[in-house]
Symmetry: C2
Subunit: 522 residues, 2 copies
């Protein structure tokens, strides 16, 4: 494939007319080949109009057609071969094994949604049969299926250039739901985005689908995104990124003449509770694995463990000593972009300057354009509870704050004080820590999307039971998940058919059940 | 029961401190016994704090406990006996048979949700078992259940003083989900509201639940509702009422530091398509049944048929003649309140004054404080398409506008031009009208929540497959329904448990499946 630097609007390659931009290698600071110009408002409109034209056809594809399409996308991504990996490495500074793993995850995610589509359970087909003899009034024949909401705008993330970008979880679940997608490439990796966009487009062509099923737009600033969210043809938004960006999209969507849902995955500090029994039993092991979780991908993960909460005492002292040594030894890392590195540096500096915070360790530094010098700091529960907004704010990157609690009351108060989170982690010793965990769980359940024990929150399984979501500000909508098969629900709405003749019903609801799907009948 | 005129805050009767108000008999214009004072901000806070205190206990009730509670509410409402019916008749002007039917529906709805709770499918329990030997990385044990979002604010409607009010669909589905409810009584029927509130409270006591599971607040203006929606403890809102009121709540909820979902059922004109084959086959029958549907409850139904769309010709002429005669003969009716009658009168006058509209018929009038003089008007498709905003606006009450179409292009253009709707109706002759219906359906499906054939949209069945929802402005959230068992989903969110020891898991997810519910396992 050749990276063209154009907007992929349906099957056409159209040069943008907006500001020029290009990818930068965050390791060298050097400009990478190919220059883009941002998509203009007319191009946004063209992409959405194509999506609207494709919608009535694409949403009525059979389960097999749609599943085959998702599998064709997966194969087309694999067919990009090493070019995708090398370009993504250049644009992100992420290492090959990480990106090869992420590609596998992206491909498996598409195949998983193909399975979901084939199952047909997502249709949530329901049939209440007519009761013509019911008294005092007969009951009509009432049937419901779910249909997609309409064209979806997907915003590629910076930190998962494959799995949460052009063909990532939002796109896979929207396409699985039957919604055309207009994707905004993240400007930090436009080349990787275009390659994947070309792969999707080739699958659209191969499957004989209307070209408007997928378009990929690119642009350097916020205008493109705002134009997309404001377009009357767009019916939902998927986004992974910063709290500021996500909140701006939420507000823009709420201000529209016809408001639309925004699914923004934004901000989380992912508290990790070290329970006393667990610390006593295996502090060394926990400390070692925590440092690995903190440093992976230079901490640029939504589920990075940003808060460690534990009861004061010699076991916590040992944890602090071990992790301090681990972070001091952390090699210098490169972040995704210079802007992210700058924000990280600024967040760490603000934390270090806080009167209630003591910096424990900094990792190695390096003279690169986007450095990440790992950070470990400590505070007290009292200091945290006096200023949870500052001390609980996400620092995107490898930074974590240990909170020393004087007693279990403070332990619980921290759980009460934190904002909505993607995850909470409990390191616990079965039996010994049960009482304290039982007190924590009811609070954590209403604050977070996923509670895990004796592991670390980084590494999000893509499966039926996964919830990668959580109350605001972790996401814009705590009723949903952006990872796992439940993500398809975000893009669906129910439509009810009452006494419609069988031949006019959609296949999913016809008497003969031609799609052979599960239907709840009464 | 005695109507006290107080706020029912948990188990306490507390007099309000705000503006005085009282119920008015819309037939006589006379003030009814008992004077209320509006709830103040402190009382809102007290009710929400009690709900927050009740939440951790109520949300973990067993399926049986919660279902028993819903059934106890149903019985307590029946135990109110005729006092509920007579007071509601006085406060609303609605006739006894309608209110007895509505009480039956309210009670059945509570019992239906009791069945839903017992089934346990609403938990959507999912288990992905651990795969310790998986390569390259083992899979954790990952389990998900749904929990309620938190305390819910429910706004009673004016037009269904029982079925969409204090113990109506929003309250029933929220309580079924495990969410405590703080209800705002509609000020037009505070006595009926208080009686039902007392019934719920007696069920709370009888079932040994914490008092904060339910509170009922009353007040005359908008301040109380805004205080409720703005309270940080409220996590979702259920509302049935005007577009202006619903949009105000949506905006207030979006402006909160932590935005919350609003489920507002607001505005619909419920287009009725008369297809040529059906008109040819049975115009008299359709005309007669349309007039019945238009006039029922003085047209004060969300699903009242406000637009009739048909192809010009002698069959439509006959339909117009028959319905003109029917509406002219319509007896004078009384609306729910003088304010609603005023808004109706103003809407009808505005329609009549529109240059593209001809008034066909007015019903009988009467010198009552809240009169409804039925209205039938006609326009052309061209006039409608030139000003769909004015001509497509809901007139709450017995008013309908016939749209004469010159050709099928106009027929389809009307479907494109209308806003989101609760319903669309097709009067069709199987076979003869199939081609035209097949062209209409794809457009209607993306505009409405329910499509029905050969009936009228009034009369909404409460069942598993019902969708009483639809794209904005029919509702605030077209992904949901406010009638039927799917309504429970509005108040739920998923929580995921990863590698949590079995004894610390909620019962719904424990290995032994002690609740014996369906769980999707892989």
């Amino acid at each position: 494939m050749t990276i063209t630097g154009t907007q992929l609007i349906g099957h056409q390659d159209i040069p943008g007319t907006g500001a020029q931009f290009h990818a930068v290698d965050p390791v060298t600071g050097k400009t990478l080949p190919v220059t883009w110009q941002g998509a203009d408002a007319g191009q946004v409109d063209r992409a959405v109009q194509l999506a609207l034209a494709a919608f009535p056809i694409y949403r009525e594809t059979t389960l097999t057609q749609r599943a085959d399409f998702l599998e064709a996308i997966a194969q087309a991504i694999l067919d990009l071969g090493d070019e995708l990996i090398t370009r993504t490495m250049q644009e992100t500074g992420l290492p090959r094994p990480r990106l090869e793993g992420e590609r596998g995850r992206t491909v498996n995610q598409l195949r998983l949604f193909a399975r979901v589509v084939r199952d047909g359970d997502w249709l949530d087909a329901r049939i209440d049969h007519a009761q013509p003899d019911r008294k005092p009034a007969p009951r009509s024949d009432i049937r419901t299926r779910h249909i997609p909401v309409g064209p979806v705008a997907v915003f590629g993330s910076s930190n998962f250039p494959l799995a949460f970008s052009v063909a990532g979880g939002d796109t896979a679940s929207a396409l699985a739901a039957g919604a055309p997608v207009v994707c905004k490439a993240h400007p930090a990796h436009p080349g990787a985005s275009e390659l994947v966009g070309q792969a999707i487009r080739s699958a659209v062509r191969q499957c004989g689908l209307p070209e408007g099923v997928f378009s990929l737009l690119a642009g350097p600033g916020n205008d493109l995104g705002m134009a997309l969210v404001g377009h009357p043809g767009i019916q939902a938004v998927g986004f992974t990124g910063s709290r500021r960006g996500g909140v701006a999209l939420m507000q823009a969507a709420a201000r529209r003449p016809v408001p639309i849902p925004v699914y923004a995955e934004m901000s989380s500090t992912n508290p990790v509770y070290l329970l006393p029994g667990a610390l006593a039993a295996r502090v060394d092991d926990i400390a070692q694995k925590f440092v690995v979780s903190l440093l992976g991908s230079a901490g640029q993960l939504c589920t990075n463990p940003g808060l460690i909460i534990a009861l004061d005492g010699p076991d916590l002292d040992r944890f602090v000593n071990l992790t301090t040594a681990g972070v001091q030894a952390a090699p210098a890392a490169t972040m995704l972009t210079a802007a992210i590195a700058q924000a990280y540096h600024s967040g760490v500096s603000k934390l270090a300057a806080h009167p209630g915070v003591e910096t424990l360790a900094r990792g190695q530094n390096a003279d690169v354009p986007a450095p990440c010098q790992a950070n470990l700091a400590v505070t007290t529960a009292q200091a945290f509870l006096a200023d949870p907004e500052t001390l609980g704010a996400e620092i995107f990157g490898a930074s974590s704050l240990v909170i020393r609690c004087a007693n279990t009351q403070e332990f619980l108060a921290i759980a009460q004080a934190i904002e909505g989170q993607l995850t909470a982690t409990l390191h616990l010793e079965p039996g010994a820590d049960d009482a304290l965990v039982s007190m924590l769980l009811p609070t954590l359940e209403v604050k977070v999307g996923r509670i895990l024990a004796n592991g670390f929150p980084t590494g999000v399984e893509v499966c039926d039971a996964m919830v990668h979501g959580g109350p605001f500000p972790a996401t814009s909508d705590g009723r949903t998940t952006s990872v796992g098969t439940l993500a398809i629900r975000r893009f669906l709405r129910p439509v009810c058919y009452q006494d419609i003749p069988d031949n006019l019903l959609p296949a999913a609801l016809q008497a003969a059940n031609p799609w052979n799907i599960h239907r709840a009948e009464r």
